[in-house]
């Protein structure tokens, strides 16, 4: 077994400003008064777990429990305060589909923009253009400015580019809540097709899709790993806990 992701006691605190005082004045005031102008909020506390290569992990937990922060740390967007982390392989984070999309630009221009943001080269995008157009079913809208797309078309275009990423570790943060039934079906097929081949961390509030795809689930509450194991067990435990509140 090869380990794809390993976290060892990873912790992260955020500084929450007490007043909205960006800029020199705010810093001067807090400097002169000798008081910290923020309070610390521990977003993640001693998170440890490991993920095998090819595993599909569902991550669940209430709002504000630290799920997104966790993905951002794994994606190297945030730096942990403490703890060790090891990532084995190329990684693509999908914390927002269509990241960097520009409404003024055409569908095609946005494919190139988003593709390069996701780490593809222009050449790669050229060769994958056929697949992208086929998957998105938006071939006839390529010259239209993105601002005139419906939100469903928007997501279809973004997802069609995103799935071209060749990384072997993929992070998804609540990105599939939109789209009609036929698109949902396509997504389902895509996740089926990468299952076992790619390592996936999948954050969602939709417990059905977690149940459907995941080999294992991790429950996070108040910045801690509360449960980690068989998907059904973790979901049941989470549901029971929620209903007792």
């Amino acid at each position: 077994m090869v380990i794809a992701i390993q976290l060892d006691k990873v912790s992260k605190k955020f500084r929450i400003p007490l007043d909205k005082q960006d800029g020199l004045k705010g810093s001067l005031i807090s400097l002169l008064s000798g008081k910290a102008n923020y309070r610390e909020f521990p977003a993640l506390k001693d998170i440890s777990f490991s993920v095998q290569k090819g595993e599909f992990i569902g991550i669940i937990g209430p709002n504000g429990s630290g799920k997104s922060t966790l993905l951002k740390i794994i994606a190297n967007i945030l730096r942990p305060d403490h703890g060790k982390m090891r990532i084995n392989g190329d990684l693509s984070p999908f914390l927002e589909l269509g990241l960097g999309f520009q409404g003024e630009l055409s569908g095609k221009e946005n494919i190139y923009l988003y593709g390069t943001v996701l780490g593809m080269s222009k050449k790669e995008i050229d060769t994958k253009m056929k697949n992208i157009l086929a998957f998105s079913e938006l071939k006839d809208f390529m010259t239209m400015p993105l601002k005139n797309y419906s939100s469903g078309m928007h997501v279809r275009l973004a997802f069609s580019v995103a799935i071209q990423a060749k990384s072997d570790i993929l992070l998804f943060d609540e990105v599939l809540a939109v789209g009609d039934a036929s698109f949902q079906n396509k997504c389902y097929k895509y996740f089926k097709s990468i299952k076992g081949k790619k390592t996936v961390l999948f954050v969602s509030h939709d417990l059905n899709s977690i149940q459907q795809y995941s080999d294992r689930a991790i429950l996070i509450q108040n910045g801690r790993v509360v449960a980690n194991g068989a998907t059904k067990k973790v979901i049941d435990y989470y549901s029971r806990k929620q209903s007792t509140h």
Binding site: D22, I77, P93, E96, L99, L105, L113, T116, V117, G119
Partner: protein, 253 residues
Amino acid sequence: MTRTNYPDLIKELAFTDFKLRYHNSVLGYLWSLLNPLLLFGVLYMVFSVFLRFEVDNYPVYLLFGIVIWSFFSESTLGAMNSLINKASLIKKIYFPRSILIISSNLTTSFGFLLNFLVFLVFFFGAGLRPSLNFLFIIPYFIVLLMIIVGVSLLISSIFIRFRDLSHIWGVLLQLGFWITPIVYPLGFVPEKYHFWILLNPIARIIFDVRNAIMYSIVPSPESIIGVFLFSLIILFIGYFTFRKLSPRFAEWL
């Protein structure tokens, strides 16, 4: 986490910005030429009609300074704003943050190239012809790029914490424009200030290159080495400040 397509990302971001900047405006890309030319027109009117300096080929003299200074000021201001404008990228995906600065500087470099072509039209139009001294442009432009990248890295990474910096920097650029011999000749200023004025590397670049290409005055080796070392120091300070602060950008934005 190895990604090797950063050059494509830099190009894509730079071209996108260039496209978007002039999107929906009637004159489009022409504005990148018109802006410095209009400034030139205003200053030329004031300083050749109302006031007069004894400078040979004053329009060429004036335009050269404006083109170089605009490149510096637009690049550094653009770099500062690029991190804020691209906040969503910084917060949602990892790539070396310096890519945003480099691509922003690349965007303003396109504009600079166009402006420099216009300058050449003025240069030839005034009956001037390039000599071998024109080659001095090459080392000085390399130095100029080093300074622009260095200053951009430095102020953009500080700007994320201290948003007042964009206002302060705007004022400093105004001040810099007027204490640099762009609209007036250096001889117009008392000689005891010359040393201090030319300590500003942008002033040094404008002064030396203009002398070389317009008046066949060859810059001294000390001048070239001095401004090169100065720009190297700025580049290092910018690079290390940015490297130290950039891992926390996603938190601060």
